[in-house]
Symmetry: C2
Subunit: 315 residues, 2 copies
């Protein structure tokens, strides 16, 4: 039996943009939006809203900023599929948001580290006051001390976010850890009427598996990306997720079409997915930046040397 | 805390051989054996022992037959790492086995379908009488009716196999199903002193995850392959498994070396791993043969047509 409360959010353009500097052309993003609407996905995240003063537009593709007019060129309001954007605490211009009633964006997701959760709640309040749905994505939880996480969740329980995400930024967790954290998040947030979400990375080929564990535990907001496209090893694949969920509103086939038209070749070029350097940072609970540098191939390290150096870096 | 009873078996040459008709050259297999010994793997499976009358040697590489002299060219007796081969019920020449005391092979794994478990026990008895360790791998369990599986397990509980494997041939199961079946296998076999093993396929990126679930449940014999090499989507990656297990006898780095030297390029050529046709047969609980044919690209089907046709094939 499917659970109708479950919401699937596809963040291919946003998280995948980390692999191509948000350089997707509008024809592709339009096809992605149409395909994800046909797939029955609940939210499509079309990029970040980065502060143009800190991140000059000449240096990145348009989906790093998600100007209203660019989104309107590729997407449209629908009953069943809403548009979301993400903004980072400390990298967001508060004045860059229209009132929600003037925008086709429905939801703003605020990404933060646990230590900055006060700032996240402040930014959340701002977009909530403008009329947007909003969520809070607490990143890099595998590096957070438990009392700090508990305090962050307690604060978030008093916020007006509609969902708070468990984010495995480094692709380090396996099922028992997801189960433990899911219980913790649900206990802290559900009584306050706040849903819990999961954003899994795939360094250890556990992105989909961990999302399933989260579903079993009662987490209702699920992130996926087409063909798993995302930073480094990427994410839980949307096509597997929508087929696994038995809700008849979902259809994986439009996602298969998008993979065949665009993402299969793009993966060969950009190399997200299962690659040993990404697996190594996952195994060692490290940020993938070292693995991404390794993949650029500038230096001649072996996998073994990469593994050994990363372990030494701890000391 | 690690569980010392856990045994890791690497079957790269055997299962991976399904992707290259067992055409690994001896220098590679020698390096693989040396590397897996250095990694601390408990068993290295070097191929099948197929009946040469049914499968003429001119048509396949030598690791489909595993002649004693070929194995001796690449491997050796060690204290900690044993050599295994696999044989299929109905495809095995009973006369093709030396007494174990004259062979460097320690273990023979008998692969069977649930319906042929009597024949598997008979073949097992034959190799046991010759002095080999032996296991039984019951394939394609996702297509077996529960009473038939229960009966097979009851029979196997009376056998002299040292382990019986839960085999997810089509890469269809997710955690809740693995948990259910692991409980069933353990309840049937552990009281008879028989260990349970897991052989997972990776069609839905769940090979490693399902192996972890099996470990959590108490399954002690674990199959992996280097870089996940195996038929279609392949298997649980040995490198992830040995790093995940905290037993200090294991070391993933020699496996990383083998991947860098051989298997990364081989994967680009042979294309096991996460590919949409393999994912589709996994989602639909089908044998991967249709997906392997699709990957050969002879016909012009789209992923969508492939998915639709496979569903129709059910009716």
């Amino acid at each position: 039996m499917y659970r109708p409360e479950i919401k699937v959010l596809d963040c291919t353009i946003r998280d995948g943009g980390l692999m191509n500097n948000w350089g997707f052309d509008k024809a592709l993003v339009k096809d992605v939006f149409d395909g994800l609407v046909a797939a029955g996905v609940d939210y499509v995240e079309l990029g970040y809203r980065a502060d143009k003063k800190s991140f000059p537009p000449a240096e990145s593709g348009i989906w790093r900023y998600c100007d209203e007019e660019d989104i309107r060129d590729v997407a449209y309001k629908t009953e069943k599929t809403k548009i979301s954007i993400m903004c980072d605490v400390g990298r967001t211009d508060y004045d860059a948001f229209l009132p929600a009633s003037d925008s086709i964006i429905s939801m703003v997701r605020v990404a933060t580290y646990a230590k900055d959760v006060d700032k996240a709640i402040h930014l959340g309040q701002h977009v909530q006051d403008l009329g947007y749905e909003s969520t809070c994505n607490v990143m890099a939880v595998s590096h957070v001390l438990e009392p700090d996480l508990d305090e962050a969740l307690e604060q978030l329980a008093g916020s007006k976010f509609q969902a708070v995400y468990l984010v495995d930024s480094f692709g380090y967790f396996y099922s028992e850890q997801i189960q433990y954290l899911a219980d913790k998040y649900l206990a802290a947030l559900k009584p306050a009427g706040i849903e819990v979400g999961i954003h899994a990375h795939n360094n250890l080929q556990l992105g989909f598996a961990n999302t399933i564990e989260a579903i079993v535990k009662g987490i209702n907001y699920l992130d996926g990306t087409i063909y798993g496209m995302g930073r480094a090893a990427g994410n839980c694949p949307t096509e597997l997720l929508v087929d696994f969920l038995k809700n008849p509103k979902f259809d994986a086939r439009p996602v298969f079409d998008l993979i065949q038209k665009y993402f299969a070749d793009m993966k060969t070029e950009l190399r997200w997915g299962y690659e040993i350097p990404y697996a190594i940072t996952g195994l060692l609970n490290k940020h993938p930046r070292a693995a991404l540098a390794f993949m650029k191939g500038a230096h001649g390290d072996s996998f073994r040397e990469f593994y050994d150096k990363l372990q030494e870096a701890e000391e």
